[in-house]
Amino acid sequence: MVGDFTRQLSKRADAFETFSATGESLRVQFENDRLTEIRQGESSGVGIRAVKQGKIGFSYSSKADEIDDTAEAALRMAPFGKPYAFQFAGEARSPHTRVFDERCSKLDVEKMVRLGTRVREVIKSVAPEAMAECTVGGGVSSSRIVTSNGQECHERESEYGYMVAAKFAEEGNFLSTYRYRGGNQYIGDDEVLAAAREAAEEFRLARTVAPFAAGTCRVLFAPTALSDILMPIGASVNGINIARKTSRFVEAMGQKLFDERLTLLDDPWHEQGPAGGLYDGEGVVTRQRAIIEKGVLKGFLHTLSTAQMCGHQPTGNAARAVSSQPMPGAHNTVMAAGNDALADLYKQAEGGLCISQLLGTFTSNFLAGQVSGNISLGYLVKEGRRVGRVKNCALNVNSFDLLKSRIVGISREREWVGSEYLPWLLVEGVTISAR
């Protein structure tokens, strides 16, 4: 049927790309100590880019059997669309394979509910005053991209993930400590329960408030907060901002912009990474690439369109849902480990802060390097350890400066934060505002 359809479409469109996807998922959620939802979903959709008279139109439908109507709408949009200045992906096969875990297609509701119950018990046993939260879920999906240039690729993906949290709310002391991880393989209950214990132990630590005065100090960013600090780099290597010349990295390829200890890789195949794939959202074969290598700018993130606009080679970084056109995006971002033991970094952060959570940083002016936000979970560091939570503090840093000249150390230890695999980072000279 798809074959008939593409033959028909190739008669009417100068070029085209179809992206179809289906998926099934199951999720169990506990909130405020109780089971609140079991959610089971099926999803489907088709997105079509069609070229007519040198311009691209796009249309999407969540009804997989509406493929003809969707193509018709894409053709109707085409005269108004942007010029087709690049070429849809041509035939190419990825030489790699990616794990598909069948267990993610056979998730057991009752087993997941029992796991959530055990998570609650673990959190309560460590921190009785905390309220427990737990979400576990996963599923399988399948996507297929066909282009008029001969590419026809198909991927099956499996996914599974968890989030566990210990929460508390009283005036002047709202607190949430959490752990989460997602991947493309089933995650055993032991890891989820260990994460629950860690979150609860951090909760107990955070219940102690430590005094802290505004000023300039060393800050140890935990991986969860380092993710925020790296956002200006992500925005600045994004092909759209390169093509539009809104990034200050436009002319900086090959230049040393950061401390030589900073290396960031884009890895579409990391075996633990939840993101990525063998092909990107346009059917381009993906590859591992350095974005920053020993402080030197090595790569941008491009779709076929932004690569063409910049005169660069495609990079296989088209990120998209089936309902939208591709935009440049990273797969799994892997930051190189440092040479420092985390315990040593704590010692070197004496009198400073360890920050785990920042709030509202997404509103910052990332293209200027700015990262601003409330320190929603940060600790005073004394004698090589976190001694208590600091309250009512905010920070405003320029990541470009911070990562160029203020790095004191980078840990050997790393953790997953969504699709980023990051170490702890110790920097100096950070100004903290406080009330």
């Binding site: 939802e37 969707t70 942007k82 509910v113 509202g360």
Partner: protein, 457 residues
């Protein structure tokens, strides 16, 4: 459809069962710099079944209506499985099952405006910003979405609801060397495409502000008296107090019930906060929520005292309070949860901006917002633009102004509320529980707050 769905829900074998079907068509435009990067039509079609068995929920989504009976069975089976293992039970507040149809009541239907005309209109705004001296790039997006939602429940409720939603936001970006400035203009409506016309001055202002912001110094960090314009104050009341008022934050947490005890004083007598679904034309307008409950104007703070909160049937049932028509779902893929509609601070007795400025020796006037975030107690917002206040007068422009604070302290620290209430809709929306962007509005007059932490150099 009604004759099919109500009996299906009623015979599901659940204590309560509802079926919601969505059929939506959306047109979207997006400019990046000079190019019309995206022109798109989308059709979203799907449904869900939500079943309650022995106080536990099962929720199933689907795209294929042919399999609806199987989906009902799955939702009930999941709810039953949960009920075997769960110790806690959900209770639904009782409502009179509605039998309603909601038809569109439009001033200018965006579907009657040719696509070419929309492209010309928004393309001209985009080009206007690009042509301004110092502007290096722009982005602008517009959408209109027509939805028809059909809702049936085992209690016999039937709601056939049509909705229109439109939004537009454009930004100018100015960059020189390593310094970047940006500013934006936005508009939105439920009923009238003509709100998007005649906006040249707003886009000229955005372009000028982006360039001026680029050339402005970074604000010096510290605690200041801050005057927020109606837009930023609206974002504040949405993020900082509206989310706190959502019933699911409170219903299961005895400590939160103590924090948010009705009758407790939160601010001065002149502080009034409400959430309403009844402001026709605004993006936060909603005749019925996604549980078929009619919306209302819900007072949250009256004369400084907490008097209400925002409920779904479930959170109202758990707290033995009244449903307020706030159960909303962003699409058929999600269950309804307590969400805001149009959240507002009411006019106060302190005149105009000039009157609020008068007593401020050193402060910051913060306008517009790039959004914000809260964790219940703490909030962070980034102002779209800002000026220092010196000796009661507006002084130099500053940039990178991020406001942080504690919700409870900040409400207590509101020392002035002007009488110039205003709502400015846009293209964005509210995010919660993975459901984003939900159309909402927020409004306020100018407000003055003492002791706000501003992150800066």
């Amino acid at each position: 459809m009604k004759e099919q769905l109500i009996p299906l829900a009623a015979k599901a074998g659940a204590d309560y069962c509802e079926i919601r079907l969505e059929d939506s068509w959306q047109t979207s435009l997006a400019y990046q710099g000079p190019d019309l990067e995206n022109v798109q039509e989308s059709h979203i079609y799907g449904g869900n079944v939500r079943a309650l068995v022995n106080g536990c929920w099962g929720f199933v989504t689907f795209n294929n209506l042919d399999q609806i009976e199987a989906r009902v069975r799955e939702a009930v089976a999941n709810a039953r499985a949960a009920s075997k293992l769960a110790s806690d039970r959900s209770i639904l507040a009782q409502v009179k099952p509605t039998q309603s149809e909601v038809k569109l009541d439009l001033k200018l239907d965006p579907r009657k405006v040719p696509l070419k005309e929309k492209i010309d209109l928004f393309g001209a705004y985009n080009q206007r910003m690009l042509a301004a001296k110092g502007v290096t790039s722009t982005n602008l997006r517009y959408f209109d979405k027509f939805s028809r939602t059909r809702f049936a429940s085992s209690e016999g409720a039937w709601l056939d609801r049509e909705e229109m939603d439109m939004g537009m936001g454009g930004s100018a970006i100015a960059r020189q060397g390593e310094v970047t400035g940006r500013a934006s203009a936005s508009e939105g409506s439920r009923t009238d495409f003509s709100v998007f016309r005649n906006l040249n001055a707003r886009f000229d202002d955005a372009a000028r502000t982006a360039v001026e912001s680029m050339n402005a110094p970074v604000v010096k960090g510290g605690a200041y008296t801050v005057i927020c314009d109606p837009h930023l104050a609206g974002v504040f009341v949405h993020e900082a107090f509206g989310h706190l008022s959502e019933g699911d934050n409170v219903a299961d947490d005895a400590r939160m019930q103590e924090v948010l005890k009705l009758g407790r004083r939160f601010g001065e007598n002149y502080l009034n906060i409400w959430d309403t679904g009844q402001d026709k034309g605004l993006r936060g307008y909603l005749a019925f929520d996604d549980e078929g409950v009619p919306t209302e104007k819900t007072m949250l703070i009256e004369n400084g005292v907490l008097v209400g909160r925002l409920h779904s049937r479930e959170t109202a049932g758990r707290m033995k309070e009244r449903p307020t028509g706030n159960a909303r779902a962003i699409s058929y893929r999600f269950p309804p949860i307590p969400r805001m509609r149009n959240t507002c601070i009411g006019n106060g007795p302190h005149g105009k901006l000039e009157d609020l400025l008068r007593d401020v020796k050193l402060g910051v006037y913060a306008l517009d917002a790039y959004g914000g975030q809260t964790n219940g107690e703490l909030f962070t917002f980034t102002a779209g633009q800002a000026f220092m206040i010196r000796d009661g007068k507006l002084a130099e422009r500053v940039r990178d102004v991020t406001l942080s604070g504690n919700v409870f302290d900040t409400l207590r620290n509101i020392t002035g509320i002007a009488g110039d209430y205003h709502v400015q809709d846009g293209a964005g929306g509210c995010g919660k529980g993975g459901q984003m962007p939900l159309p909402v509005s927020h409004g306020s007059p100018h407000i003055r707050i003492k002791d706000v932490v501003i992150g800066g150099q």
